[in-house]
Amino acid sequence: MASSHAQSQPMHALSIKNLSKTYSNGVVALNGIDLDVEDGDFFALLGPNGAGKTTVIGILTSLINRTSGEITVFGHNLSVEREVVKNCIGVVPQELNLNQWDNVFNCVLHCAGFYGIPRKEAKVRTQQCLEELQLWDRRTETARNLSGGMKRRLMIARALVHKPRLLILDEPTAGVDIEIRRSMWDYLKHINEMGTTIILTTHYLEEAENLCRHVGIIDAGRIVENDHMSAVLRKLHQEMFVLSLKEPLSDQRKLKGFNYKELNETEIEVQVFHDQDLNTLFDALSEAGISVLSMRNKRNRLEELFMRLVERREQEHIQKVIHPEINV
């Protein structure tokens, strides 16, 4: 994690050292990754499809055997204290893995039983989890009759019933409508504030930027970025803003000092470098007599950075494959 935190030596919720995984078909999914997640953190693990995110989670949750490497969770070594580690972790997998024929209540209740929670207490906890995730009214329905969003929430309830210290969410909001997604964000923020460490993988980078304090970007089995969210975002040297104008831009009214292009009559796209501030942009707009109705980022900032990192790696790969001397 960030070097600035090294001095205080915070308790690591998760520490991964030199983790590698080569599948039986020869595919190298993880190539010696190191990753630390602090206790109480909300950590985003990002990467394109096939980057190795789900493999990391599979290894953490004992669903995938690792080839080499060490994993400790709250100081407990996965190889030595597997049961203790399992008790610390709750997981919401990417793919639905509910027993479709169980009712909602039993889906959670059975899971509590697997963690050794006595039935009486398990029933109380099940009710709490279902109420918190607004599923208590649906408790007698079979899981297969729930909507996609409800199934996702049920999986979260199931992952939380044993009160894990570390919650791993593998694309929990995939295919969920915006309203439910935002209510899930609120709930995740709440449980993180209550002390649960959360590791989140998502393809919605807006989600990661809104929720997470630290981010790790994994690509082709390697960690290519791992830092505080704000530090990562600072690495963007420029941002693109789209401005909606009150009136069409005329030849007489030009924006000075900024690169921009006209998207249509009343929209322009402006490039702002990090050594330029937005006040300068607004001054330039006022000087040119341009009235702005609204302003937005062209692309989510994290998405921008993510795309650059991934594109850079692809270019390096092409460079190696085609010819080292040909510039792509």
């Binding site: 599948y23 399992k86 008790n87 039993n106 039983g113």
Partner: protein, 254 residues
């Protein structure tokens, strides 16, 4: 304590599943066995006369009870475990601190519950056709119980290796069925020519059927101690195999 709660949870889940789909788990085997009693016992059996010194129906009843226990114990675990694997909700158990032994015993409990339930109902059906005076109740029950455990483990091994639904019907159709029919359910090996009688001795189900028959009507082609020994060996082998497969993650982990 944690493992005990987990074991109770798996066992309860399995039993609830059996009861929830009782039209698939309990009724069909009872109908099949009733037809066996009517056709082989009542209609054909009258012409067969005595077998091993007993009325054919009396001789056949323990075999049919054992056959239903074997197929249902096996069928319950193979379908339940494979469905859990296929729908991926087996992962619930794999990510939780449930030991492999608990996973095995929990599913075995489900197989035994279904096997013995169907066996009990088939026994009631048999009472409509013949007298069932159990000569050695403890032996009869223990053989039935142990056999049910053996085939529950067999079902689990099948489910672990299965990758598609076809795979869970191949063993029952091409291995389990023939071995059961040739395991002395309908006849005594005394009727077989020497070569076939010796070949039958390689069939483990022969020991189970005859052990149970000894418990019920007091006659057997096999020494009862040999029957217990064979069953216990298969039980230990089955458990060890399941433990090995789960610990290596074969068929369930990458």
């Amino acid at each position: 304590m944690q493992q005990f709660v987990a074991l109770k949870t798996i066992a309860r889940k399995e039993v609830v599943r059996i009861l929830r789909i009782w039209m698939q788990t309990i009724v069909p085997p009872v109908i099949t066995m009733s037809l066996y009693f009517i056709i082989f016992g009542n209609l054909i059996g009258r012409r067969v006369g005595e077998m091993g010194g007993f009325e054919y129906m009396q001789f056949m009843a323990p075999g049919l009870i054992m056959m239903s226990v074997i197929t249902n114990s096996y069928g319950n675990v193979v379908s339940s475990f494979f469905a859990a694997k296929f729908q991926r909700h087996l992962e619930e158990m794999l990510v939780a601190p449930v030991s492999n032994s608990v996973i095995i015993i929990g599913h075995m409990a489900g197989g035994v519950a279904r096997g013995l339930t169907v066996g009990a109902v088939v026994t009631v059906v048999a009472l409509f056709f013949t007298e069932v005076n159990v000569q050695h109740p403890l032996i009869a029950f223990s053989i039935l119980f142990l056999t049910s455990m053996v085939f529950s483990l067999g079902g689990m091994i099948n489910a672990i290796f299965a990758t598609k639904f076809d795979d869970i019907s191949i063993i029952p159709s091409f291995v389990l069925g023939p071995l059961t029919y040739l395991g002395g359910v309908f006849y005594t090996t005394a009727l077989l020519p020497d070569f076939w009688a010796k070949l039958s001795a390689l069939n483990p189900i022969l020991y189970m059927v005859n052990g149970f028959r000894y418990g019920v009507i007091g006659v057997s082609d096999i020494d009862i101690v040999t029957a217990y020994t064979i069953i216990i060996i298969f039980l230990l082998l089955g458990f060890a195999t399941c433990s090995f497969l789960l610990s290596r993650g074969i068929g369930i982990r990458e």
